[in-house]
Structure formats: structure tokens, C-alpha cells
Symmetry: C2
Subunit: 319 residues, 2 copies
């Protein structure tokens, strides 16, 4: 991509998707914006970067990593006391750091999460929170990768995840590619496979975590309810950059996407013309349905938001 | 259709689907079989009918109406003391009676169910339990039709219902056709629309009801859990022919259907080749999640199976 507007478009149209990948892409978009300011004085450069931040920040409303990455990039710009050229150098470096950190963070999530998995476990996951949703290694899929690397036999049940079918297209693909056993089901079958004993753990990613909710791909909430009813631990794997710690109300804006995502599959219209469609991209899972938040700082039981916040505010683990 | 084997194939391949429609079709298949026995003596005729009963009974394993209709047709055959010709006449009449009764029964379900609906209600339904799943009028959609005929404003949220998309293709179609307001959502969004207050009642159909479970289209169980959590009444609308009263264990064989239903949408392959697929067609909702069973004999609270059985064994209401 040649400029930040292309990056914003790629995020909006889900060419890049997955909260951590969106964050890293937005950081790269900010770096591209900074590169065009190389010959500009500092004030003009910062003004242009604020515009880029606004455009990138309007691409999608729910994933917190987007705002986290843009804020971090803008902080870096303001910290840099030099010219446009020096700001650009600093921002390119910072974007690269964000991307590299994401990989390291995901490996830490993998290590902490793997300790929760037992030899023989079959793990249900929703949507794609793997390599294809991050810079590499994944969030929800990281504990599975690490557990397998440790010699445990772990297999995956992937929900197909309508409307965009990320489970069928992406999770199936990356697990098959890496030789990890995967079984694909329709979203509606998640409760049944739990009920008949096919699932030992559920691990999903997150787009935003607040004092009240985990916002994640629509369908997550019903999976969490079915897991609770069937006494199956429900884990959320996410880097600390997904935590919206300053959100006092805990409420989250849920993106509604185009009807065409529901009405067109593989280019073909499914329902009759004229039907009204409601297409929320995410849903909200109350924190009390979550057994543990698997982060790069450890696994946190979300019993109290103050505890979560203090766990996350610890000194960053060197990685 | 020209013979019972074509009918069995139509049921197996879901050209005819929906438990009451399957029952009526199987009865017609038995009548077609009886018609080919017109010139045969009674014993030979009964032997051929037993073969037809076996073939039709092997078409699909879950919907109880299939076995109910075949049993009723065979009882009629054995009751008739005449020749093949007389048996055929009796069976054609019985099949037509089953089809006509289905319509009357569904209107009774509509009347009893409509009393549960309030002006302004939005009702969530799953799969298709409408006109296109019955001889006419529907089961889950019957209360909605009747309530609207009574002047209540009632609208519907239809799950698209993967893998076969009966909600997107059939429920949307028949409600649009009849001018009943309908909103289509993906299956995973059912919990979210309940959580944000868009749903006042849930009504689904059933393929089989036992002392333990409602077997219905896969996805029903998670909807029932989300309804319970959000204090939304969850109703099952079904004729008494869906009740498997003699089933002591309450267990139900859940049909697994072809992988292609999941992997191919609109003729196009979605997941990568080589992925393993599990495709259960139904799931099991424990009776304690059901607020009421809407039948042609009235609305029954399934608090005790003995009460359910005694309600259903009452003298048939003339219709």
C-alpha cells in the first residue's frame, strides 16, 4: 500500500481484519502518512498526522487495538521534537516496533494459554484469531500452537462464522496449513458439540475488552452461554492493547455492516429481494462468563475490573 | 411423483422438508405404494406395503412425524379386511385425511399460540416452520399469522439457519410473500438481538419431542439458552404427531448429513480442501428451557412429562 488512505480502506473493507492486525496496519498507515511529511516543518507535519489519525480511526469502530495503535503513534510524533523528517523516522521505527511486539506478545499468550490445555483437549474457537488476524502466531490460536509444540495432542473445532466465514476460510486454512487437526462446523452446531462432549475448552479472541464486556465477532455471546451451561471453560486470548481500560461505562459501539455480507454468498444472492437485514459485526459477552483472560502478562480471572487493571498495569514483561 | 421410492428420495434430499410436511409426504408415498397393489390379494398387498414403509422410514431418522404417518397408514392397511383394491382406497383416503388434518391442526396451533403474543411483539424464529414446512399455514409461524389476522402488530426475526439456509430462503420468502414484516440475521446474531431488546418471544418448530428433549434444527439449543438468560419466553409449536410419547429413554438419533452442505454454498466451495467437517442436522434442547409447547390441543407447560402425555391423550378436539 502506498498511503494511509489505502490502509484505512483496507481496514474498512476487511482486507486486513482481526484486532491486532488492524492495530499493526493502522500503525503502518500512520508511518506512511509520516513519510509524506518528511520535508514539512514540525507543526505542519503534526497537523497532517492528526488528519491521518482521524481517517484511520474512522475505518472501523469496535476493535480497540486500532485506537490504541493510532494513539501510540501520535504520542511518538508529539514526543519527537525534531522536523518532519525526524518525526517520520521515529514513526516508521515505532510502527515496526508495534509489529514486532505483536509477534512476541502472541508467543507469550501462547505460553500462558498452553498451560491451560491438557493432552487430548479439543478446543472450540470462533471466527479467526490466528496468524491471519495478527502479525503472526495469533491470539486464540497461540495457546493451541504452543501446546502442540510442547508435545500435547490438541485439536480444534472451528465455527464457520457467518457472515464473512472467517472460520471456514481462514482458521481452517491456517490450521490445515500447519498440520493442526481441525473440524469445521456451522455456527449453530457449537452448542450441540459442547453438549455431546466434543469440546474441552473454548478460546476466542477479542476486539475490545471493557469493565463489562468482551466485544468479539458476533456469535461469541451464545458460545459463552453454551460453554457455561456445559461446564466448559471459556477463555478470551488478547494482548493488553485490546483492553479499553479508560472506558468508564464499559459500553462498546457495535459496528453494523452492509446487508450484502448476509444476502450475498460467493457472489450469489440467497434470500428474496426486499427482505430487511440486520448485520451487527460483533456482540457483547459479559465478563462473568469468562473463565480467564489470556494476555501476554499472564492469565487473569476477571473477577474484579480493578484486579484486571492492576494486573495489566504491571511493568511490561520483557520479551 | 409417481411412486413411493421417489417420495423417499425427495424426503432424503430435502426436496420435502419440515417435520409435518415430511409426515404428509410419507403418507402420500404409502398411498402411492397401495395404488400399485390394487390387483393384489390382501396378504401380498400388506407385504409390499411393509417394504414401502421400511423404505420411507429409512429416508431420514429424526423427524417423528415421518414414523407417526407411516404407522398410521400401516394401521389403516391392517384394519381394512378387504382386497388390495379396498386397502388402496382406504389408504388414499387416509393420506388425504392426514394432509387435511395438518392444515386444521396448524390453524389450532395458530389460535392457541396467538394468545401468547402481544401487540408490538417481535418474534425470533429459527429455520422454517411455516407453510413451506407443513401442508399449509405452518407451526412456529402459525401463531404469528393468526395474531396478525386478529389485528395485532407482530414482526419476525428470521435466523438464516446454516447450512441449508431455510431461514434466508424459505422463512424470508413466505413472510415477505404474505406481507409479514421480517428481518434476516445470521445465526450467530440471535443472542445479540435478544440482549439488546429486539426480541419479545421465541417460537420454533420441532422435529421430535421426547420426555427429555426438543429435537429441532441445529442451532435451536443455543437460542433457547440465550432466551433463558435474557428472560424471553421460548416456545415450541408442534402438532401432537411430533411427540414421541413411547420413547422411554427420551434419546433421539441425530442425523448427520453430507459435508457438502457445509463446504459448498451456492455451488461454490468455501473452506480449503481437506478440512474435516461435522454436520449434525439437529440438536437437542432440554425441555426445561421450554416455556410452553404450543399444540393443537392447547399450550402445555412441560413441567412434567406425565402431564404432557395426559394433555396429549385427551379426546381429539374436533376441527
Amino acid at each position: 500500500m502506498q498511503n494511509y488512505r489505502q490502509v484505512a480502506k483496507a481496514i474498512e473493507t476487511m482486507v486486513v481484519r482481526g484486532a491486532p492486525a488492524i492495530g499493526a496496519a493502522a500503525a503502518m498507515g500512520m508511518a506512511l502518512a509520516a513519510n509524506t511529511c518528511k520535508s514539512k516543518p514540525r507543526e505542519r507535519s503534526l497537523r497532517d498526522l492528526e488528519v491521518a489519525a482521524k481517517v484511520l480511526g474512522s475505518s472501523r469502530p469496535t476493535a480497540w487495538n486500532l485506537f490504541w495503535a493510532i494513539d501510540r503513534m501520535m504520542r511518538k510524533a508529539y514526543e519527537c521534537q525534531g522536523s518532519g523528517r525526524q518525526i517520520a523516522l521515529a514513526m516508521v521505527e515505532e510502527a515496526q516496533r508495534i509489529a514486532e511486539e505483536d509477534i512476541a506478545v502472541n508467543h507469550r499468550i501462547g505460553e500462558f494459554g498452553a498451560s491451560l490445555l491438557t493432552d487430548g483437549d479439543q478446543v472450540l474457537t470462533h471466527c479467526n484469531a490466528g496468524t491471519l488476524a495478527t502479525v503472526s502466531y495469533g491470539t486464540a490460536l497461540a495457546p493451541i500452537r504452543t501446546a502442540i509444540a510442547q508435545g500435547k495432542k490438541v485439536s480444534v473445532i472451528a465455527d464457520e462464522t457467518r457472515p464473512r466465514l472467517q472460520g471456514a476460510k481462514l482458521t481452517s486454512y491456517e490450521l490445515l496449513h500447519d498440520g493442526i487437526p481441525v473440524t469445521l462446523i456451522v455456527d449453530g452446531a457449537a452448542g450441540y458439540v459442547m453438549k455431546i462432549g466434543m469440546v474441552q475448552k473454548v478460546i476466542v479472541g477479542a476486539d475490545r475488552i471493557t469493565r463489562k464486556y468482551v466485544a468479539n465477532k458476533v456469535g461469541t455471546y451464545m458460545i459463552a452461554l453454551a460453554a457455561r451451561t456445559n461446564n466448559i471453560p471459556f477463555y478470551v486470548a488478547a494482548p493488553t492493547s485490546t483492553f479499553d481500560l479508560g472506558n468508564g461505562s464499559g459500553d462498546v459501539k457495535i459496528e453494523e455492516r452492509d446487508q450484502g455480507e448476509v444476502t450475498q454468498i460467493a457472489g450469489k444472492r440467497i434470500p428474496p429481494r426486499g427482505v430487511h437485514v440486520f448485520n451487527p459485526a460483533f456482540d457483547l459477552t459479559p465478563l462473568d462468563l469468562v473463565q480467564g483472560l489470556i494476555t501476554e502478562r499472564g492469565v487473569i480471572a476477571p473477577t474484579s475490573w480493578e484486579d484486571v487493571k492492576s494486573s495489566l498495569r504491571q511493568e511490561r514483561v520483557s520479551s
